[in-house]
Symmetry: C2
Amino acid sequence: MEFSSKLLERAVNEMSQLPGIGKRTALRLVLHMLRQPKEQTIGLAEALKTMRNDIKFCKSCNNISDVALCEICSNPGRNEAMICVVEDVRDVMAIENTSSYKGLYHVLGGKISPMDGIGPHDLNIESLVNKVKEGKAKELIFALSSTMEGDTTNFYIYKQIQDYDVFTSTIARGISVGDELEYADEITLGRSIVNRIPFESSLKL
Amino acid sequence: MEFSSKLLERAVNEMSQLPGIGKRTALRLVLHMLRQPKEQTIGLAEALKTMRNDIKFCKSCNNISDVALCEICSNPGRNEAMICVVEDVRDVMAIENTSSYKGLYHVLGGKISPMDGIGPHDLNIESLVNKVKEGKAKELIFALSSTMEGDTTNFYIYKQIQDYDVFTSTIARGISVGDELEYADEITLGRSIVNRIPFESSLKL
């Protein structure tokens, strides 16, 4: 791509570093910015810069936060003994949206994936294991993606803590609400039969 | 969407102002930035800010440029009497990539589109008409999209300049190189037969 301006070229190159944004999309976005009022682009640039410079990760759960200890960890109404283990911040937001969980979280920052060069030491596993060793956590709920990497990560953490007094659970796998049975994959369907629940308790949800 | 950080929320909101980027994509991009080295996000923010503040539009053709008169307009090897009329900067880049045009350009900045509230006075039409009136341009090549808006814009400009001594042409519409005839739409196919060219001249391309 030949650019008529170095400034344009640099902006396009920087934008196209983002995942899923190629050179053409980057050019489209940058040209859009040039058509909008100047304040809008300056606002975006400032927001990104301030965020990257000032954002903090909660010292306890590693969730993104504006203060040292995040709102969830510092909320006295939360059950401190229950820790939900998730991959990233988006999962915390998704579970918080359901309003059905009142424990704390622990954000790993990814999952073990040798293919992508991510090992256990690249994740926040040690601090989680320490919480268990110190006896702070009584239940760990594994809420990772149901993929090989997610299962590997669950199992790795499980091996580290199995000798301690902690109950471990994993979120239920089954047929999504609203899904038709005939389109479900066989592993999910099989698990949902093996892990069936009393009909009366399903009525309470 | 509930955010655990105001800084994160602001960055996501600003990102999601861009066309084709919703809140979820914006969040994915912003979280990616947080995983990358700090310099990368600062670099992006600086590039966008500098671009928006310092970029210029060529005073003659309205192309994006780092200087007052763009490289194409200031190139003495270019044919000044021939002006290719295009919608935006991307079209200039596309035509320049073909290396088959040695005239100048005129970037309109869009096309007449009453549905989007864009009238002739929102585009750089007046300066183009002035170039014709001053006798600088001997040929105008209309290279706008082959849509109703493009055709309307072509016709609007044509009406303004038809009494002056200028030749107007439009880029050829026809079957794309590599396309199969049976899949071509009938208007394109019809035009390509009406505007057929001598076989010998097709061999020279």
